[in-house]
Symmetry: C2
Subunit: 542 residues, 2 copies
Amino acid sequence: MAKDRKQPRPKAETPKGFRDYFGAEVAGRKAMLDQIAEVYHRYGFDALESSAVETVEALGKYLPDVDRPNAGVFAWQEDAEGDKPGDWLALRYDLTAPLARVYAQHRNDLPTPYRRYAMGQVWRNEKPGPGRYRQFYQCDADTVGSASMAADAEICAMLCDTLEAVGIPRGDYIVRVNNRKVLNGVLETMGLDDDEKRAAVLRTIDKFDKVGEAGVRELLGKGRLDVSGAYIDGVGLSDAQAEPVIAFLLAGKVVDRRLIDALASAKDMPKGIQAHIQAARDAGDIYAAKGLGIEAESFAVRNRMMLNHLQEIIGESTVGAEGVDELKQIVNLLDAQDYGSDRIVIDSSVVRGLGYYTGPVFEAELTFEITDEKGRPRQFGSVAGGGRYDDLVKRFTGQEVPATGISIGVDRLLAALHAKGRIEATEAGPVVVTVMDRDRMADYQAMVAELRNAGIRAEVYLGNPKNFGNQLKYADKRNAPVAVIEGGDEKAKGVVQIKDLVLGARIAASATHDEWKSQPAQFEVPRAELVGQVRRILTGEG
Amino acid sequence: MAKDRKQPRPKAETPKGFRDYFGAEVAGRKAMLDQIAEVYHRYGFDALESSAVETVEALGKYLPDVDRPNAGVFAWQEDAEGDKPGDWLALRYDLTAPLARVYAQHRNDLPTPYRRYAMGQVWRNEKPGPGRYRQFYQCDADTVGSASMAADAEICAMLCDTLEAVGIPRGDYIVRVNNRKVLNGVLETMGLDDDEKRAAVLRTIDKFDKVGEAGVRELLGKGRLDVSGAYIDGVGLSDAQAEPVIAFLLAGKVVDRRLIDALASAKDMPKGIQAHIQAARDAGDIYAAKGLGIEAESFAVRNRMMLNHLQEIIGESTVGAEGVDELKQIVNLLDAQDYGSDRIVIDSSVVRGLGYYTGPVFEAELTFEITDEKGRPRQFGSVAGGGRYDDLVKRFTGQEVPATGISIGVDRLLAALHAKGRIEATEAGPVVVTVMDRDRMADYQAMVAELRNAGIRAEVYLGNPKNFGNQLKYADKRNAPVAVIEGGDEKAKGVVQIKDLVLGARIAASATHDEWKSQPAQFEVPRAELVGQVRRILTGEG
């Protein structure tokens, strides 16, 4: 009733960085969420749906870019109550920080350990970009109250099962595991104990994928001219100080080289495999040796070599040794369960941006290539990440509550399956009952009621029925498999016309009509046979 | 890494008016959403998931309490970009206003009519109260681009089907239908053409349920002392002006009285039914005659009588006559489809608070009694509402786009099913494999892996295994049906202990243990039979 006729018309647009999802997109995501929930549930995790809105205080400041105003969240202040200023509220930016709040709030009623899964939207107040939205889905599983590395190992195993359940076959993904404590050990050997500098080193390492070894060296030192032309300040380490960090980052490359050399010098290697080894040597990457036929064993060896190499790098550091030992426990447990190292590998370059991780960190990457919007092939990259965050509940309670978990980026995973053509891009539309005589709407409604009662998706055309061509165009746009027609003549004769639109489209597309002669795309049936004949077409039974 | 050690600990609380949902609550809601989606989809509606965040401009001001600051939404301003002030964004308060935006934005790509369903959270910045939250689910279906009353009739029929699909049997609900145009006709006969006064009358009528006839009279006139002690200003109508509004509001009561009298004077009425009629006469309400055995016919008569009575009330008003005619079309279409008037009735007291309705309005009410938190019986009330809103898309495009739809309040519907005991309050927990020897974690993980691979929900205990009693308490808290035990002795013998916790609880609760002697709650089986024996217990097969 509030009409502001003088106001200009509102713009019909989502806010920048937000979008809508239609039909098959919604159905595809729902199917994936259901598949993931089934695995999580079978692993003993219970559903939790926490509120989308939290106090800013409860969320804490853990987003990668903590320097920015608003710290990356959408926030607002509640109205004041008398003299008391209103609380600051915000949309959750992930499902982990809210879990810590939930566990602290309900810990007396919840079992310990508390295994929970959650799926829902999260919001980030970040600059949107192509394919980068400010609202997206996460699908998390976490175990709160267990310090055991068995909890972390289980999360990694479940992540593999989940990826395979949604349609990523073994070999098309890899779960990378690292440990924050190992990095802390490296920082300890450097004598770096300034918290802010440590955080800055962490953020720098996280940029390794983007800026490479040389870029990381610059950013650990004086700074670097960004591609955008802006100068990014460095952490201010000397070259000598930066060296152990670089060595840690490159540990995987060093081990790869050693492993490839060892494989190359093996005497009894068949010729075909030698070519793979040469390819891996050229690429400086053991993953380039995929298809070796000896993958599992090689990768298992690689994990052992990584653990030894990391042990060397952290030297005498106690926390570093703890980190390496934790990784060893995880690898042992997973090996025992046949989650071979061809699926789960130790990788020291995995950091995970979020500030709350304290021990093991995980990342799942899809290893197949896709074609990007400019037609270039590229690796698909990360679809899930997580780790151990032993201090997040302690913020609230003061008591240590260890926790670990994983978060799957459902929208990215869907994009990957789309890129591989493994998800239906459209869904079957309803049977459309057309309206030949608007006074007999009740007759047409009766037809759709019969079809629906037989479990067949159906609807009557509800637009202006005057132009019959528009009704058929509508059926086409709806992706309808069948249209039903009953004019006055049909009514009088007690029949209906059934139009097989799928067959019709095939005939229209075919060069010669001859082959379809025996199968007319439109035919007349007694009204009483409507449901049976429509079902015959839908099930494809002759 | 950003640690503020000097800061006080954050409170582990949801913001006021928000809550978390656990395990069975989440599962119950998901099951209901799936059931509703199935019906909507079968009726030909396509899924849409629009963004949770909209510009304030796009949402418009349609909430009932438009006078309040913030207009009932959670809103915030985006950061400025240079000189350009940031847009105001808000969380959606329903799924209808966003649909209008979506349709206006994508109308060239969408079919017309566009039938869509949507399910998701909405947020209202209202004062929370008991059972009244600021985040809740809605589950909507709308047809955009159809002016036909067949669209409205279909929505009403689908609403009935949906309620029955989620477990509300016929007779336990009623769909009430009214038309804003009839009310506008009444206002026209009164000569009231001031838009703000019309809106005020509408808001007053909407309070009929709360304040009764006398209260409405006061609020239409000078005003009224609220129960809170505050004085609520009235609309300022004279008694004579208020009379037609009251007559309109009471139309149902008048018709009820006439119908009851007609039934009472019928000669051939069996004795049992006469008692029902007397009860209805005492209550002044035809619904009190439920169980008459002649319900369907009586209510059908009632709808015809209502249409005639409303025709009288609106007098010469054109818009009023249009409204009555629309109601007549809806009733005729529904009657033809056997959606009898025992399920769908004309009720002039239905207003629906939202400001955007322009024609028919609907409301589904559950008619059974529940016991409230204070142990008093009360009617459950409204669980769904909707109507026709022909101007909502026009706000954006300037072109008339008729639309109609329904919104189901899923959380209220769930509460109703809970109150009737028709939803499981707990769900079965996982099989818990206990840890007798922490060095053999890989063995226990292997057991749960076998169980999970057989489709059985299972987990290994991941807490501190030192105290075995705690492990069984955990299994109990998890509602676990079975616990598995394998200590060193069992391992050496190649067996495991299986503990049937459901049977154990039954034995513990039973007065005499004798009857259970033949069925021990804990027994030993060869390790190789673990999965088979656990399945035997879970399926209840001897």
